[in-house]
Symmetry: C2
Subunit: 170 residues, 2 copies
């Protein structure tokens, strides 16, 4: 997110992210991605990724993928569209021990997850910019939650990665 | 602010800040305060501080103080109430070389300052909590601004202090 808490401009512009693009630097993404077995994403983010990738959805090559959407849809790109309650999906997935579930993309899905206290760990990459306005990562309307700060990772580009564990409802 | 960007709950509760209260730890406040000669604060924050301090306003003992307000008011507590344009005040103050001006408190004043690109340095203390809702530090509706990340300071309590310099409009 930007320092002021936005993940996109009002018109979904993400070009400001190029500010921290560095050859060979993925900000721990691959390592994190390797630890993940299930990937859950919102419908908007899914479509943005497909738009960048000529209609393909690369995460499905490595993970079991679910797209959260209100509109039922046939499986495509190796992705399952899920219209039911997100909490129910996570409870089902968590029955298999050791599942690392990566929920990506967008304020909608973050809000759904936070409403039900379903996030165990937060990794927030703060980009050294104020967007001033746009779409917020944290939309509000969620319960209070106590966190434990984990060590910060600072990158040469100015990107700062904040990591927190959930300590339970505050 | 909380990790999700709030500086108070909807009803101005600040008790969540006690989470990071530590005997003898002021998070660099005194050192920073020593470097300041002029202190500017919003009217709401001014009144909250006076409420905590039996009607007194301690910063006025050390600094030249201005309270930004819409309602003209007689000088009190060593404080000048300023109803004109904040930009004008800062331009006047900056004519004296070496002025370190500390603008404290509240989203209103942050927004006014950001609208006119008047903040040179940001220090944001992130408290390890999600408030979920409340009053935001960054209200939106301000211009885009490029920042340079300075070293992060991590405290045992979990408070993380982010520091940025303004690089000019992005």
């Amino acid at each position: 997110m930007s320092l002021d808490g936005f993940i996109a401009t009002e018109d979904d512009d993400l070009s400001w992210l190029s500010k921290v693009e560095r050859e060979g630097e993925d900000y721990g993404y691959e390592e994190f991605n390797d630890s993940v077995d299930t990937y859950i994403v919102g419908r908007r983010t899914y479509e943005i990724v497909c738009g960048f990738c000529d209609g393909a959805f690369p995460p499905a090559e490595r993970h079991s993928c679910y797209v959260i959407t209100r509109t039922p849809r046939q499986k495509e790109n190796g992705v399952t569209f899920y219209t039911e309650n997100l909490k129910k999906l996570l409870e089902e997935l968590r029955q298999d021990e050791g599942k690392n579930i990566y929920c990506d993309g967008g304020a909608e899905i973050v809000k759904l997850l936070m409403e039900d206290n379903l996030i165990d760990e937060f990794r927030i990459s703060v980009i050294p910019i104020m967007l001033g306005s746009g779409k917020r990562l944290f939309k509000g309307g969620t319960p209070m939650m106590d966190l434990k700060a984990l060590p910060v990772v600072e990158y040469d580009s100015g990107l700062i990665q904040l990591r927190y564990e959930r300590l339970g409802p505050s």
